[in-house]
Symmetry: C2
Subunit: 399 residues, 2 copies
Amino acid sequence: MPTINADRLLADLHALRRIGEYETGVHRPTYSDVDMQARHWVAGRLADAGLTTDIDGIGNVFGRGAGAGPKLLLGSHLETQNHAGWLDGAMGVIFGLEVARALGGGIDVAGWADEEGHYGSFLGTRSFCGLVTEAEIDRCRNVGDGTPLRTALAHAGLADKPRVVIDPADYRGYLEAHIEQGATLEDAGHRIGVVTAIVGAHRYRIVFEGQQNHAGTTRMAVRRDAGVALIRLAAAIDARFPAIAGPRTVWTTGRITLDPGAPSIVPGKAEMLFQYRDTDPAMLAALEHELEALVAEANLGPCRVTIADRGRSVPRQMDAGFQTALEQAAEKHVPGLHTRLPSGAGHDAQIMSERVPSGMLFVPSIHGISHHWTENTSDADLVLGCQVFADAAAAILAG
Amino acid sequence: MPTINADRLLADLHALRRIGEYETGVHRPTYSDVDMQARHWVAGRLADAGLTTDIDGIGNVFGRGAGAGPKLLLGSHLETQNHAGWLDGAMGVIFGLEVARALGGGIDVAGWADEEGHYGSFLGTRSFCGLVTEAEIDRCRNVGDGTPLRTALAHAGLADKPRVVIDPADYRGYLEAHIEQGATLEDAGHRIGVVTAIVGAHRYRIVFEGQQNHAGTTRMAVRRDAGVALIRLAAAIDARFPAIAGPRTVWTTGRITLDPGAPSIVPGKAEMLFQYRDTDPAMLAALEHELEALVAEANLGPCRVTIADRGRSVPRQMDAGFQTALEQAAEKHVPGLHTRLPSGAGHDAQIMSERVPSGMLFVPSIHGISHHWTENTSDADLVLGCQVFADAAAAILAG
């Protein structure tokens, strides 16, 4: 079995951390100068390792290893959320680089673009899977400042480059290592997680329309308070979702807006952003049915309630054989200190699984923190995770 | 009994409307150039009517009529809410001007400053009642852009003027005419309202502190979702306040903020601005007791809940004799088409009632709309309201 080089692994992780560093984390939005600097640096490290490198027209970094037959593709994304952590994405790319070095062949490595959605939705892997049209690229804009994606690609020097699309026959599959971004592993004392499935999510904007009025002079009996209508629906979700939900179902109201939002004005309009996630399509359908029933009940009140779909993803199962390979590798190094678990967050592996067998390995996140610059994982868990990842990759290639 | 001049009244109301006009309403924030233009215009009209005029150091406009013995003071405020209506405040000042002209003596008129709270809380009447210190003026800032009150007063040419303070012996009392700003009169077909009392209000900021987390990876069982804590408290208020409340009690959540307010992040902090109003101090105390009990219950959850007082006003009873005078004048002109009612909004009369007997007359608001540029009242109701106001003033002076 291959042996990874722990010092080299940690040195590369810390070198990448310095590109766009912010506090103890990183600020490296997709196609920013530091993001492109990171992509070129990774391409250089892949070339140093003997891989054939390329950056394609959507910003995906590829390193192609030696070997003829179907290879294993390892990767994750290189950009970060704003002012976020140093391991989210970057770790999976450097694990891929280190495993390519340790195995000496049979491995391709990818550093995907824009998993974090600064411009689109999984642009890098969706482009690689042939799911992004030129028309979509024409439409995409930066979610923060509205910069067109075309402008950003031109600024990044990518405008004239072709986009690479997968030939599934080239690969045995795709394997991605990532931090857990939750505390399930840490709380249970587990050091490795084997991902069973990646959740699907339904996202909604729910809008309540009533009548704006003076909060002193408008009697309760005649009010059409959009904020009260929102609170009643949100409270009904809080009361009724637990009875339907499975053990890993999650649902979240992330934003509430009352309009005009003044202390002495009865809100005439209110809005909530609501989502739920599960790995079981039947559960997502049951939750949708319940939400629609609650909205219909809410519409019996004095305010009008409308629900708009903000997008949905389907749950993706990870390959059973890859799960076994990852679990056996973990059992060899840390017997009993690993577990199978679903991923509550979206990952590039959910897109890749539409084309080739895919699998994911999780390492623990300290205190479960992610999408914040304090995000971290112990050096011991990073080194262990990479060694387990290497062993699993070798087993899959040998299988 | 005096007879008002309807054409002159309406012409003056429309002339004042043009100073800072916005759509069919007015944008005239306190101490803005248009606000000061309005104050000087009103002073000019008061002088034309034979009154001795003055604008004092807080911007209050005074017109002092002929006559020795205790006089009746009539007034309201001259500034508006932002992009708001043409009658809120302005109507009461012009009614005062017209009644001073119709009665020929015994009347002083005031155009108060900043009832709408661009810089403070009832600055004009509180200054006139001796309730504003120089230290408070030092502290006050514009609630929108933070401009210090001192800077605004200097820009308005008021910095070196003394502030006039009432000698209660000079007055029989204070009478204010105002639009209802609700639809109680209109809904019942009443054309005049006689105000019995002005509500007191308790205002709160309620803050919920939990733990910000990833909305996909954080299981429901371990979440400390500040938004859910807020929704539960707001729903409990919605469920339990009606059992305690009186027929005119009102309560409002005007603003809700979830932090960071992103669709895929479990809110770590949440905040609501909450208030309730009633004319009965015992009712306000009962509501406060209930709110504190609900907050204590909320604190049994996984989030910390704190409640901060944002200010409170006490209910003020209007003078019984003034109510009778207003009611008798209304009965003479529109028999049976008037009613006694409390004011759910705050008014300068609540401050004045701390120093002298005070009363208020309401005219109907079309569709109950106020604090919006579509605010309006029919010409017939304006003319009737002013005539009833004049008759009541004459009766009080004769009494």
